[in-house]
Symmetry: C2
Subunit: 337 residues, 2 copies
């Protein structure tokens, strides 16, 4: 329960439990409507006779330039992905910039170039925008909000459709985005040579939806990482999810870096990956298609929904048996997006 006389903590924005609590107990309660209450990555709404997906994200990542991307690329890809995982074809983006006085024009140009490049590459138009400049010290360099509108191409994807024996597929390796941001932090002069996975998933995921394959649900494991996303799913089920540790694709250098830093890669944010819940009989078919795409070449079936009452994620490890995989509580690495 939220204590109303407390202060907002960093963990309220981490994607973990405290954030869920704040969203449910304050925002959802006060702003309640049937669209918002689903807490989807994009709201699915009626627009006259059409179905539309609508999403928003503010990006406050630090540093704003990192290996494999920058805040502009992250904004475009992040918003596209929030539409795509809701089975919507991204069409239009808005772009709102909050810039700190004294920010370098060349850096702004570099970010806008990146936005333009990734918008064009992914066939979305930036159609509307806003620009605010605040005094030095009133924001950290630049914050970007991108909201997006997509055309729903397939209805019915929902956590509520998930059933026991459904397979959990992860579209690729995890942890790269979080580690790339960590390496880029001023106060961590570490360089593991790890590039962010930041990518738009339109071409990887939308073609799948046009095939006769029973995909129940998709979500991208960003803040809070894979562990938190799986817990978000499990918390809405009446069953547990069992995941096998050795089937989770992680690059060797990510493993090494995580060991050195004492970080669990399952909690590191990603921005070019998705978790798919697929009916058992179609899992190998989905995997085969994913693997044909460069962004899905490391895709793997990492677990399944098991016929065991509960709302937990269970992690089966080779060395330590089965343990409960908790959602994120405190974020070890704020501002990854």
């Amino acid at each position: 329960m939220i204590n109303r006389f407390e202060k907002i903590q960093l963990a309220h924005g981490s994607g973990g439990l405290l954030m869920q609590e704040l969203i449910r107990e304050l925002l959802l309660k006060k702003l309640y409507n049937p669209f918002l209450s689903e807490l989807r990555d994009s709201a699915l709404v009626n627009f006259k006779k059409e179905r539309l997906a609508f999403t928003t994200d503010s990006f406050v990542v630090s540093p704003i330039f990192f290996k494999g991307g920058d805040i502009g690329k992250l904004a475009v890809c992040g918003t596209i992905n929030d539409l795509v995982v809701e089975a919507a074809l991204p069409c239009y983006l808005s772009l709102s910039l909050i810039i700190e006085e004294g920010f370098s024009f060349l850096d702004l140009e570099r970010i806008v170039n990146s936005i333009a490049f990734y918008a064009k590459k992914n066939k979305v138009y930036v159609v509307t925008g806003d620009l605010k400049v605040v005094e030095k010290g009133a924001c950290d360099k630049i914050f970007i909000n991108t909201s997006g509108i997509g055309r729903v191409i397939k209805e019915g994807l929902s956590i509520r459709e998930i059933k026991p024996q459904d397979k959990i597929i992860l579209t690729g390796t995890i942890g790269e985005h979080g580690l790339s941001i960590l390496s880029g932090r001023k106060n961590t002069p570490l360089d593991f040579g790890i590039r962010s996975d930041c990518s738009a998933l339109t071409d990887l995921l939308l073609p799948l939806l046009k095939k006769n394959l029973k995909i129940r649900f998709m979500r991208d494991p960003t803040r809070g990482g894979l562990a938190t996303t799986l817990n978000e799913i499990a918390s809405e089920l009446n069953y547990c999810i069992m995941v096998e540790e050795e089937s989770i694709p992680i690059k060797n250098k990510v493993k090494v870096a995580c060991e050195l830093l004492g970080i669990d890669p399952l909690y590191l944010g990603n921005e070019g990956k998705a978790v798919l819940v697929v009916e058992k009989k179609d899992a190998s078919g989905v995997l085969k298609i994913l693997k044909k795409h460069p962004l899905g070449k490391d895709a793997s079936i990492i677990g399944e929904v098991i016929n065991q009452k509960g709302k937990n994620v269970l992690l089966k490890t080779l060395s330590r048996g089965i343990r409960i995989l908790e959602p994120l509580r405190q974020d070890p690495l704020p501002r990854i997006c």
Copy 2:
């Protein structure tokens, strides 16, 4: 021309000339598409067979609570108004919060209450959201982005439709929002008892569009005030706009405060007013309808488009003859929205 080796200044976000330059020379050039290039308050786009208006605004106002409103009310009303002036019925809002670590939960609750109240009052749903918390010092208390989707109820409003002899109507008194923010600033212990005009204009403006009245164009004079909005319009015409000073409705206490502070109310931001350009024959009809609504009771015909080549706004004063009314260059009052 922008000097790429310069730094971003506060004036780049003021709504005035420097901002226009930055938008046109960087953002519009790099992100060009026919929707964005119109630089409307909302983009008007095709969505399958429907026409949709899409807008975005980030609110960084300081102080976040002021006489007549708060950042939450401002966000909802501001985004609604950007849809309404493009002849769109506001339907859906997104809400993205960037909160500084240590922010008071009670203040957040107060802001969310305000958002909920004004969304409900104006029949829009907040359907999707995002929440980021940044370290102390990385933002000033709270920034809010609201993006909005509206249903276009009338096509064809455009600056390009404006012709000589068209009348300029202002829906009410100006300057209150800017002065209310100024009074609320920590370093200006002035209290003129002036409340922000922050209001949603849906009920005032949309009914007008359903009548057989030739409204060419509408815009809300926010950042940069009435003078800047009129200049934005004139800069797209091949004619001048002539405005009569004494017909511009300004509350007496606003006049007094502006004189004391040496501020020109024509450059003060508003958030509950609109400028309408109306065909001459329909101007009195529009005025009559506006005046019936509480938000339009002070509406006034303040000038007209004159058959004189140029792109200037001319201000006719009783005492000093006619002078050119320039757009805002440097903002005397940043972060009013």
